[in-house]
Amino acid sequence: MNDFITRTLRPTFWKVVAVIIIALGIYTIYLRFTGGLAAVTNLSDHFPWGLWIGFDVLCGVGMAAGGFTLCAIVYIFNIKKYKPIIRPTILTAFLGYLLVIFALLVDLGRPWAIWHAIIMWNPHSVMFEVAWCVMLYTTVLFLEFSPVIIERFKSKKLLSFIKGITIPLVVIGILLSTLHQSSLGALYLIVPTKMHPLWYSTNLPWFFYLSAIAVGCAMIIFESYLSAKAFKKNLEFHLVSDIGRWIVVILSTYFTWRFVDLALNNKLTLLFFNSIETYLFWLEIIIGIVIPIAFLSQSRIRLNRVGLFVSACFVIGGFLLNRLNVSVTSLQASSGVSYLPSVYEIIITLFIVTIGVILFNLAVQYLPVYEKTKEGIPIEFEIITDENLKVESVK
């Protein structure tokens, strides 16, 4: 125990940074709940949604998309070889959603009324759909992750119950994610004249959905690389590398669709219009789509650990830029004000990211997140416990 305490308390660079961010974050939360949103944000009547919605919520939900993507691969398409990375991916998604809810509690004017959506219905509101998706999918993610916690406390009955409802849970989770990812885009359908035409499209829900799947895959690569480094968990590299190939397919579809959509709406001339929006649009397209496609379509880069990781970083970077473009850049011109996040807004965002990293670390250390696979049995044939027993008895 003493050993543990000294190990935890030994200051390293990142620990010091984390402590500073957390202290500043707590101070900002104190200011927020004593002085209102005006005390900490640069939000205004003309710019009611800022960094917290644009980054913490839109990007947070998107980056949690690895969860449902991998669940679909492993449980619905039964490509079982990806099972070893499913737990850390679900963990990321679950933590992602918890942090999104946390961000909402800071951002909402009346966070104690957040439950109102349960009893006060407005089915015509996309925000109503969003609220329900957040509530239901967080529950599903908790249940999907619960075997890890239950295993830790060795309750066989509960475990077999949860494993028994895995498939329905996964199906519900995929449907809810599909609705949630696309509805975040649908939120902006109602501002056709406020939003810059390079981003406004009636296909926004689809664009949000496709880009979320792409970034979900990129997050799987990103985490596998970092996990391999930090926790000495060597995941089978070819598995992760294959995901890179799918990213090319998804991003190509996304790219084509977005440009065809611009062409069909006679917006192609806007691509060469000298404005800050045009530059940010191209930056988003090049970083998030063109470069990753160029990199990942070459097996030389795809099969290289660092190359794959860097490509995934580009996908994630372009994705973040896209969501911030949609939520901030595209609305600046019509709002009549120029919004830049305040220092406090940035602190809260850093605080949330830091808390996420710490929780992930703790979970990996104290919970069986990285499953042990039975030796000698190809992972494809290893399903739940009694199946394994069958194989063993045959032996």
């Binding site: 004017g109 407005n122 939120l187 501002v191 004249t193 069958k390 194989v391 045959v394």
Partner: protein, 262 residues
């Protein structure tokens, strides 16, 4: 449902006296925010302002749209369009997501940013005065007839009559008649509306249609998606089962062979 009401704001008649501004403050018990109504801006404490645009004055206020974007956007139904066509806000429902502000095509709703229990604030068409049989305070206070209030169909007829009688005085357009599906605040102007800073690029259809079209696909998406996913699961699982049986048979025969050899 009482008859749909509307305001007619005739910019040619407005002299920028600020009577409507003062009356609005009094009727809604709002604190003083500026000594010059022409320099004030809409806020959580100011529901109407007069903006000077060149030689003319343009009054800003909630447009009480026919199909209000805020009503459709609010997740908990805190906004409602009720009798007289007034768009009201119920603070007891609001959770403070501010989607109404983001969604409003006229950028009208204002927020109490400094409050710990913030509300969305805007003109409520003096709903209580309407219930008592009075007209909104601003319309009653206007000394020049720049703001008139009445049944919407009569107001539209009046606007058309004004343009017809004085075609050289008015620009031939009633702003608000069809903007975002029609509003309850109609404007008449002596010059083209874009020259007065009006947003003339608004669509002529109600904006809630856009989100409703997406939302209405949910039932189909969920049912078709659910069936497809379950079907896929069944197919791929069956394939895996067959593969597993073959694998087990193989290992079994191998074990038997090795025991035979012993």
């Amino acid at each position: 449902m009482k008859k749909e009401k509307a305001f007619l704001i005739d910019i040619t008649e407005c002299v920028g006296c600020g009577a409507c501004y003062t009356a609005c403050k009094e009727a809604n018990n709002l604190p003083e925010t500026s000594d010059d109504p022409l320099r004030d801006t809409l806020s959580d404490k100011t529901f109407t302002v007069i903006e000077q645009r060149g030689d003319y004055y343009v009054r800003q206020m909630c447009k009480h749209c026919f199909e209000p974007t805020c009503v459709s956007a609010c997740p908990v139904g805190a906004f409602t369009k009720i009798e007289f066509g007034a768009v009201l806000y119920d603070e007891s429902k609001c959770l403070g997501c501010r989607y109404c502000m983001q969604a409003c095509p006229f950028q009208i709703p204002r927020y109490e940013w400094g409050s710990l229990n913030p509300r969305v604030q805007k003109c409520i068409m003096c709903y209580n005065r309407l219930l008592e049989g009075n007209i909104p305070a601003c319309a009653e206070a206007c000394p020049t007839g720049a703001t008139t209030f009445g049944d919407r169909d009569e107001i539209i007829a009046l606007a058309k009559q004004k343009i017809f009688d004085n075609p050289e005085k008015y620009y031939n357009y009633i702003y608000g008649l069809n903007e975002v599906g029609g509003t309850s605040v109609l404007y008449l102007s002596p010059i083209p509306f874009e020259e007065l800073g009006f947003n003339t690029h608004l669509l002529q259809t109600a904006l809630p249609n856009f989100t409703y079209e997406a939302l209405s696909k949910i039932p189909t998406l969920v049912s078709v998606g659910g069936v497809l996913l379950t079907g896929f699961y069944w197919l791929t699982n069956r394939k895996n089962e067959i593969a597993r049986e073959k694998f087990l048979e193989k290992t079994k025969s191998q074990t038997e062979r090795s025991t035979d050899n012993e």
